[in-house]
Symmetry: C2
Subunit: 542 residues, 2 copies
């Protein structure tokens, strides 16, 4: 049997467009003489749809479009995900196989994740029915995402008392199909290869994995759909971060192998480019605005924006103050020149001075305190938002994860924007991505990579005057945020206890800023925003 | 048996303080010769703790403080909620009875809510063990919150196949105790009385309900703990929106009846006052800043702030522009005078003009468009935030629910602040609350209530030029947001189809603004923020 693995990029709620993409893939698969085509989890409506799932007309539209697909498809079997509803109006994350206008089999997802960005137990009931089925000479075990991410060899805490892969193998399934919407984070690839390859190998059956691709707000799906042969080796593989289709032949257990990125940094960069493009386009923006300071964060953000949207669609805005160095002025200009983007120039000194003057009757004499630093950042945000209003461009904010974590950023200032492109990228990784961008020629001026980072909000300011060295800060933050380690455990890793205490204190007391941050593209195991839920008003107990 | 129902206001993570409050209540109950004292759900750590529950040291601190309570309490039995952990590190939302240093009984919550602001299935495992137990001559059925909010007479969709109240009654329980952290919304009181009274009446047993009180970020707990006698009548009742203790005697089925508010508007006003006070104090703020425009929203917000924090702790800031009317100037001044609060005066015209001048080289000639309106709002936000930085006061934003719902507000402008006091109060209700405040004398100048609402961001602007009349807008919004009705259903209620379409379109496309809004006090069944989860990047399917 020849099976097409179709990885498409659905837009949430865009049933018309999503099913058109499916139809185009089906035509292509028929032309390749495929017997079956497999699409990803909830492909009809897009994932994650959140509380749109609670809207009756959303679910009805999803069922109507599925029905149209079933009625109109000819010459091939189709497996796809959709939202099903029972007579009690309860919803199921479901998958079905249809062929010649008939539904041949249907399954309901059993393992509903409720952690990180996942909230499936809010919307879906847990599936109870389950069996393998025969189709064109194969006995197929059909599963949905986490249903088989539950192997006791990999996960210490299992979700389903029944191991579905083991049960299906025991039933005699000779092909396991898994349709997923499995988000990207750095390092996920290895886990994915391990978990899925292990199942194929352990039960000696080929395994097909079809993943969603594309960005939906913060959540990025990398695609990289795969077929594993019955020894657990990758026998077919689709591209990452773009729509793709591969064909796998179950008789010879071989298929298309498309190229993927080699390093973790490359895949993160591609994830950010895809996420920026999809957020802009799915929100209806063609063009974006980036405030360019002459520093590394805005340089990286501008490069990503250009790769995502095209140089003609990115407008740089340089907004120097009296604290902006000559070097930064030069670097901003060089960067824009290298990227061939337009760079507007709006000095903020008159605005900053007017704020100081307007405030002086109530605040008295001014100094270079936090108040004055924040005013500069907010003046810049107000200018960017005004240009956004005027031109209709999306504002991309440029803050990195390290500064957002410890609150080294201004709410309604440099945090402002429609999308926070690199807000989940730690500072050390920002440098790595910048070096990657420069690999084939200097786009980001070398000076930007070499000079010590500074917000340039007061004379002679350097990040490192206020923060621990980024090597140390990033390691502590990874331990605290991503690995959820206790202060004692982090100190036990060899860090200075007072530094650890100070960093954690900063993380905790800046929850209020992150609460109001724009969506940021998630590229680590734990980003801020929707998938990390901490109260603001609370006390520290340690 | 004499039982004390102790409703305290815990702070999340403040184990020391929470258990001190418990100890004080215990002493009082012992002095009243009580046999048993009952505290609310998860009282040791506070509710809702979110992902703090994933922190090992948070759970450990909760267990340590519980252990100290068990060891130190003498002369009375205690029932309270806490987080329990099994040997597999799985967490349970649990309750126990202890007396004389020993744990006599323990239960685990079975019905874990995963809707609205609730996410319990992310953190807790579902309880399996359950039985009634004898204590001091009574057979007690102990339940946690939703465990008994599951009566088939009230809820069409039940969560637990076993009706716990029915099962306990069958087991011979002659007293049902329910410990809760059940949030307030307007109209919840009637549901609460119905559900709980019905259980007592149906099974002919007294029922004790002990609820958390206080605000935690957006979530407000009204308290109003109650005892129902075995005919279902309220036999004891604690105050709303403040800490309180009442005593109920199971032998005579009678207890203290404390006064509560009479109208829905009164209770909403009290909820907002409590929420503002708790957010400020639990975040460490004593004082607040309110931008006062001379309009109704900021007037109401200022009144709530004064009631919450005291007039000496509220600083008004009046920031007129060339578009501010003489009437607004007068009204702002009169309001501040009536409230006896300080009113700073910072004209924004020079700042606004400087922005227009700085932008003119790139934007060309200016007009009274959206760009220019938003600049004014953002200049004001920058001033308020500068004062907040300078003085350390909390900024209270003043937008109402109607405008936030349709996006008739400026991100980083009037939306800016640490807490959005009335962001869940629809405009018509804003007027009702303002009239309530004026009931015993004019605090809010009558002119503010009478003049047509205006943002005063361009000459002669009126809300009603851009929006449907608020009577109609609020009804459509309630149907769409709170009742989750489809466009067709709303049109079917008698509204003009094009108005309905336009309003819904505005709601949907402004998700991005609300994503970056400060926490707002939740007073309806569906507020924006944490309990309402919609994607930003998506298409409308209708």
């Amino acid at each position: 049997m020849k099976i097409a693995l179709a990885q498409i990029n659905p837009t949430i709620g865009d049933f018309e467009h999503n099913t058109e993409k499916m139809t185009a893939s089906i035509e292509k698969a028929v032309n390749h003489s495929c017997d079956l085509i497999v699409f990803s989890e909830l492909v009809i409506c897009g994932y994650p749809a959140g509380e749109l799932l609670n809207k009756k007309d959303f679910v009805a539209a999803n069922l109507n479009h599925l029905r149209k697909m079933i009625d109109s498809t000819k010459g091939i079997g189709v497996i796809c995900g959709f939202v099903d509803k029972n007579t009690d109006q309860q919803l199921y994350n479901s998958a079905l196989l249809f062929d010649k206008g008939e539904i041949l089999h249907q399954v309901y997802k059993r393992v509903l994740p409720a952690c990180g960005i996942f909230d499936e137990r809010r919307y879906f009931e847990r599936g109870t029915e389950w069996s393998s089925f025969s189709y064109k000479g194969r006995k197929i075990g059909l599963t949905i995402c986490e249903d088989i991410w539950d192997d006791k060899g990999f996960f210490s805490r299992r979700h389903d008392p029944v191991d579905q892969a083991a049960r299906m193998a025991k039933e005699g399934a000779d092909l396991i199909i898994n349709i997923s919407a499995s988000p990207y984070y750095a390092g996920k690839r290895e886990l994915k290869l391990g978990v899925l390859g292990n199942i194929a190998k352990k039960y000696k059956v080929p395994l097909l994995y079809v993943n969603q691709v594309g960005g939906n707000d913060s959540v990025l799906f990398d695609g990289m759909s795969m077929a594993f042969d019955s020894t657990g080796r990758v026998a077919a593989r689709a591209r990452e971060f773009e729509q793709d289709m591969i064909v796998f032949d179950t008789d010879i257990e071989k298929g298309d192998i498309h190229p993927i990125t080699e390093t973790s940094a490359e895949s993160m960069l591609n994830a950010l480019i895809m996420g920026t493009r999809d957020y802009a386009h799915k929100c209806g923006f063609k063009k974006a605005l980036v405030g360019i300071s002459g520093g590394i964060d805005s340089a990286l953000t501008a490069c990503i924006a250009v790769k995502a949207l095209g140089k003609e669609n990115v407008l740089g805005v340089f907004m120097p103050s009296q604290y902006t160095s000559q070097q930064s002025r030069k670097d901003a200009k060089t960067l824009a020149g290298n990227l061939q983007i337009e760079l507007l120039h709006i000095p903020i000194e008159p605005l900053f001075n007017q704020f100081l003057q307007s405030l002086s009757p109530v605040c008295g004499e001014t100094s270079h305190g936090l108040t004055e630093q924040n005013i500069q950042a907010r003046v810049r945000a107000t200018l960017l938002m005004a240009l956004s209003n005027k031109f209709g461009h999306l504002v991309l904010s440029t803050g990195n994860k390290s500064e957002s974590t410890v609150g080294y950023c201004t709410l309604y200032g440099d945090m402002a924007g429609g999308l926070a492109v690199i807000s989940d990228v730690p500072k050390m990784m920002v440098y790595e991505l910048a070096r990657l961008i420069n690999k084939d020629g200097e786009t980001i001026p070398a000076e930007i990579l070499q000079k010590p980072p500074s917000a340039e909000l007061k004379p002679g300011q350097k990040d490192q005057d206020d923060l621990p060295p980024y090597e140390i800060l990033d390691s502590i933050l990874r331990a605290y945020i991503e690995e959820n380690k206790d202060p004692e455990e982090i100190t036990g890793m060899g860090f200075d206890p007072s530094t650890v205490r100070d960093v954690i204190h900063r993380v905790d007391r800046n929850e209020y800023k992150r609460h109001q941050a724009p969506p940021g593209l998630k590229v680590t195991t734990k980003s801020f925003g929707y998938g990390r839920r901490y109260p603001i008003a609370r006390k520290s107990w340690a």
